[in-house]
């Protein structure tokens, strides 16, 4: 049994109190003295040349302080991209400038053209209406295949084409993979779309810039998952502000899901304008603005081929993907369809040859970047769909076909560069079948049939790479950043601790879980541990929270720092008890000399550290505060089996999700309640993608799903109660907690399970439908049923 409040137990979340009483402090809750308001005027066309921007009328409007255009940023850099991809021919990717405000051309609906700063938000908006902006429409490229045509209009005229890169992985496997597919007993081919999504954290983005003339220090309050990354990118590459003169604060942040990783123009603008105007400048995104300025997710078009031998063993896998980059390269965009996608194409299976080709394409759409799962949902979707299709073509059970090809020995070196440390895929599959009552499915299907409905059951078995990532490895792969994490553990004289972590919590509950770990290590009450995050002035340089990395990387850094603290505290305790360091044990908040009844309390030692009257000053310094930076040795590899049960109304094509079961292996779990909550949320987003969410452009590049009236967010009545389980545990072998990460799994494993379930229902109803592209709206399902 886990200790109450310690690792493995589910104490209530401490952060809930402020969120439940309206005392949370989100960025939009911050109002600074003398604050002015920024309103961004954005392009309403997808592609056009800016002929003129008339500001006179707007400047004369009440309350207007200044109107900014690109001309004000001539000395500033563009928004940088954090990852460089090399093409198959050895050339580096084409990397266009991403200006803060549009320079000469607008390249997507929502591209910012000018900013009005006024005394009130209403005045800024009113004046925005009075700007006289003349734009010459240019033909837009929206569809990726059209964008690659010889005569396609160029999104960036200074680039040779709309192709960002043409990446092959692993290039050395290409010929062998082609040959194996030619010689295979059976090849299953599938063409599919991974639909474009919008992350839609419920808190829209906010930026508040502030400037202190007396210290020449700029401060940015922003809705970020990684304030240190924003400080580095914005300071060094955009505004030329040294880190010691720039503070970035990300207070309570209302969800992220990837969309709040990236450095955005509005952050740089508000920081810049606050200094230019010598007063705080605030911007709060409206939801409509969020749809056309937050980075979008997914948007892949893929052809996948799976080759099998006569005994149904997988022999080779080849995929070709077009990945939409949008109009500019967002911070991590180039890495998503490549290193976060290609490296996962082996899945859970012993496929000896894998070759992945990705062409990244510029279009006149909002930039596309990481969204929950980021590359791994795209990999899992292709693989788990093509395996189901292969099983149907071969007339074998899709579960048996998976099991036959499962990797069973670890560590396992895949043909796509990564090495899985641990896993037990049969165990998670067994667990799924047990808790989803798979055995009872046929009875339930008969019941549905009797009511004129079609019932289907679909599964998927995913693997993902989390805990991003070993810095030396990602550096070789083109990352322009390190991906370690940091923590400082500061012990106060009276024994309480403050952990300052580079990880960031925007819903994940770190204030609770990180305190659980420290509480366990020292044996003190979790209430004595304060977790501080989200402020570059208070935390050591850290890379932030995304890619399910917080506990695996940030938690590990915290453990390492706490270990240093404990080692020093043991020396102090040894001195106080006149014993050898090596004889000191720490348990339940007391230091004991092993094998004796001599002990001192944690608080006695911490006090001695700061009041060193009786202290080994010749050996160690006073004080008790340590910092650790943890750079992981490998990715972590959570995996799991997901099962979806649907009922389909053949008259309307409407799909109802009756049950969804997730059997995950996350390694060790710190707080089961929080882990399950993460899975629930991921499932809802994955089901949303598969069933209803779709970010749609018309052929002219108008975003036709730019509000909650048009973009279908899953609501409570769209979802069932979930069955989730994390009792299959193969601990990670290379981090101190044995943890793997759980944040993205739900969104990765669920879309293929749902689509497989719908196709199963259709086949049971006699409809020989091979594939339907997501989202499986009633119209799409019904149309497919008509043949």
């Amino acid at each position: 049994m886990p200790k109450d409040g310690g690792i493995g137990s589910s104490p209530k979340r401490r952060e809930d109190i402020r969120f439940l009483t309206g005392t949370g402090r989100y960025s939009d809750d911050i109002n600074l003295h003398g604050q002015a308001y920024a309103h961004f005027v954005r392009s309403d066309v997808a592609h056009g040349r800016i002929l003129s921007i008339g500001t006179e009328a707007a400047m004369a409007m009440p309350g207007v302080i200044r109107v900014f255009t690109a001309r004000d940023f001539e000395g500033a850099g563009g928004i940088p991209c954090g990852w460089q991809i090399t093409s198959r021919d050895g050339s580096v990717m084409q990397e266009p400038k991403h200006p803060i405000l549009a320079e000469g051309k607008v390249r997507h609906v929502g591209d910012p053209i000018a900013v009005v700063v006024a005394e009130t938000l209403a005045q800024a908006r009113d004046a925005g209406e009075a700007l006289e902006i003349e734009i010459e429409d240019l033909p837009a490229v929206i569809d990726m295949r059209s964008a690659l045509a010889e005569d396609a209009p160029l999104v960036h005229e200074d680039l040779s084409s709309n192709l960002c890169y043409d990446w092959g992985f692993v290039e050395e496997n290409r010929e062998a993979t082609d040959r194996a597919i030619r010689e295979a007993a059976h090849v299953t081919t599938l063409e599919l779309v991974n639909n474009r999504l919008v992350a839609n954290p419920m808190e829209p983005r906010v930026a508040v810039g502030d400037y202190a003339a007396h210290s020449d220090e700029s401060t940015l309050y922003t809705t970020s998952q990684n304030p240190h990354v924003i400080r580095l990118l914005m300071g060094a590459f955009v505004l030329n502000i040294p880190e010691h003169k720039l503070r970035v604060v990300a207070p309570d942040v209302g969800g992220g899901f990837g969309a709040k990783i990236f450095h955005y123009a509005e952050e740089a603008f508000c920081t810049f304008a606050a200094k230019a105007l010598r007063r705080p400048v605030k911007w709060t995104s409206s939801r409509s603005e969020a749809f056309m300025s937050d980075a979008h997710g997914r948007d892949h078009v893929t052809r996948i081929e799976l080759a099998l031998d006569a005994d149904n063993n997988f022999t080779a896998l080849r995929t070709e993907t077009l990945a939409n980059m949008g109009a500019y390269l967002s911070t991590f965009a180039p890495s998503i369809p490549t290193w976060l996608h290609g490296t996962l194409m082996a899945g859970n299976y012993r496929t000896p040859l894998v070759y992945v080709n990705v062409k990244a394409v510029f279009t006149n759409t909002v930039p596309v970047d990481a969204y929950r799962g980021a590359g791994r949902p795209e990999a899992t979707f292709q693989l788990e769909r093509v395996i189901d299709k292969a099983a149907r073509e071969l007339g074998v059970d899709p579960i048996a076909l998976r099991r036959q090809n499962f990797i069973t020995e670890f560590p396992y070196q895949t043909p796509v560069a990564v090495q899985y440390d641990t896993g037990d895929y049969h165990a998670t599959m067994d667990k799924l079948l047990e808790i989803s009552d798979h055995a009872g499915f046929e009875d339930r299907a008969a019941d549905s049939r009797a009511r004129g409905k079609l019932r289907g059951f679909g599964i998927s078995h995913y693997i993902e790479a989390c805990g991003i990532a070993p810095s030396n490895l990602v550096g070789q792969l083109g990352a322009r950043a390190g991906l370690y994490e940091s923590a400082t553990v500061r012990v106060n004289a009276t024994g309480g601790l403050v952990v300052m972590t580079g990880s960031h919590s925007h819903g994940q509950g770190h204030e609770t879980t990180f305190a659980q770990v420290i509480s366990d290590m020292i044996g003190i009450d979790a209430d004595m541990v304060e977790i501080v995050h989200g402020d570059t002035a208070r935390t050591p340089m850290g890379m932030g929270t995304y890619g399910s990395r917080s506990i695996a990387v940030g938690g590990s850094a915290m453990v390492r720092a706490a270990e240093k603290v404990i080692a020093k505290a043991k020396k102090i305790a040894a001195h106080l008890m006149e014993a050898a360091d090596s004889d000191i044990e720490l348990a339940d908040g007391r230091f004991t000399v092993a094998g004796t009844d001599k002990s001192v309390a944690w608080g006695d030692v911490t006090l001695a550290a700061y009041v060193p009257h009786n202290y080994p000053l010749e050996d160690i310094e006073p004080g008790l505060e340590e910092t650790a930076f943890y750079d992981p040795a490998n990715f972590t590899f959570p995996s799991g089996a997901y099962g979806c049960e649907v009922e389909l109304d053949p008259d309307t094509g409407e799909v109802t999700v009756l049950g969804f079961t997730a059997a995950d292996d996350f390694g060790n779990v710190i707080n089961p309640m929080i882990v399950e909550g993460q899975v629930h949320g991921g499932l809802a987003q994955g089901i949303g993608q598969a069933l209803m969410e779709n970010c749609a452009y018309d052929e002219n590049g108008q975003l036709i799903s730019a509000s909650y009236m048009d973009y279908a967010m899953p609501r409570a009545a769209d979802l069932p109660m979930f069955r989730v389980d994390h009792s299959c545990v193969t601990p990670c072998t290379h981090n101190p907690l044995g943890v793997k990460g759980c944040g993205e799994a739900g969104a990765i494993g669920s879309p293929p399970a749902l689509v497989n379930a719908v196709l199963d229902a259709l086949h049971r109803g006699g409809h020989r439908v091979d594939h339907i592209d997501m989202p499986l709206t009633p119209a799409r399902v019904w149309t497919a049923m008509q043949g």
């Binding site: 049994m1 005392t23 969800g255 939801r287 909550g677 991921g682 809802a684 609501r715 409570a716 979802l719």
Partner: protein
């Protein structure tokens, strides 16, 4: 500018607003009651849900002047008089019905309105009632459980350990 007066969480308040000022902005900006949130601009997300004369309303869809003389209740007034969490708030914490916390005030206000109308709702009734409140974090699973529990009905405890 116009003068507007109302009662918020039992306290009489007044302020100067434009005709177009929304109730949610009056609460957040004039009164600095920032617990009520704004998550969209089409009256869909429900993060701004408050009670107006005991009815749940989206405060982004009510003009401040239309609340003249009204009795408004917000998340800041939901705790018990001694400062402890109310039954609904406590259930949200007990059943992990919130993650990032941004939709939470609206969810709690919607839940309170539901339980006033329907003291023992079924799961389907809870889900249906929350149609106007969007959460992106929880998948609603634990929100539904929290509301069922707050209504005094038995639900499966949180997380197998």
């Amino acid at each position: 500018m116009h003068k507007v007066s109302m009662t918020v969480n039992g306290r009489p308040v007044s302020g100067e607003v434009e005709g177009r000022t929304l109730l949610v902005d009056f609460l957040r900006v004039n009164l600095r009651l920032t617990g009520t949130h704004v998550g969209c601009d089409t009256s869909q997300c429900g993060a701004c849900t408050v009670h107006m004369d005991d009815q749940p309303v989206k405060a982004c869809s009510v003009l401040a002047l239309d609340a003249e003389g009204a009795d408004i209740a917000t998340i800041e007034g939901m705790a018990n008089a001694d400062g402890s969490l109310s039954t609904i708030q406590q259930a949200f914490q007990d059943y992990h019905g919130l993650q990032c916390g941004f939709c939470t005030p609206g969810m709690v206000m919607a839940a309170a309105a539901l339980l006033r109308e329907t003291p023992r709702p079924t799961e389907a009734e809870v889900r249906e009632y929350l149609d106007g409140n969007i959460c992106r974090c929880t998948g609603y699973h634990n929100i539904v459980k929290a509301i069922m529990a707050a209504s005094g009905q038995e639900v499966v405890p949180v997380a197998a350990e």
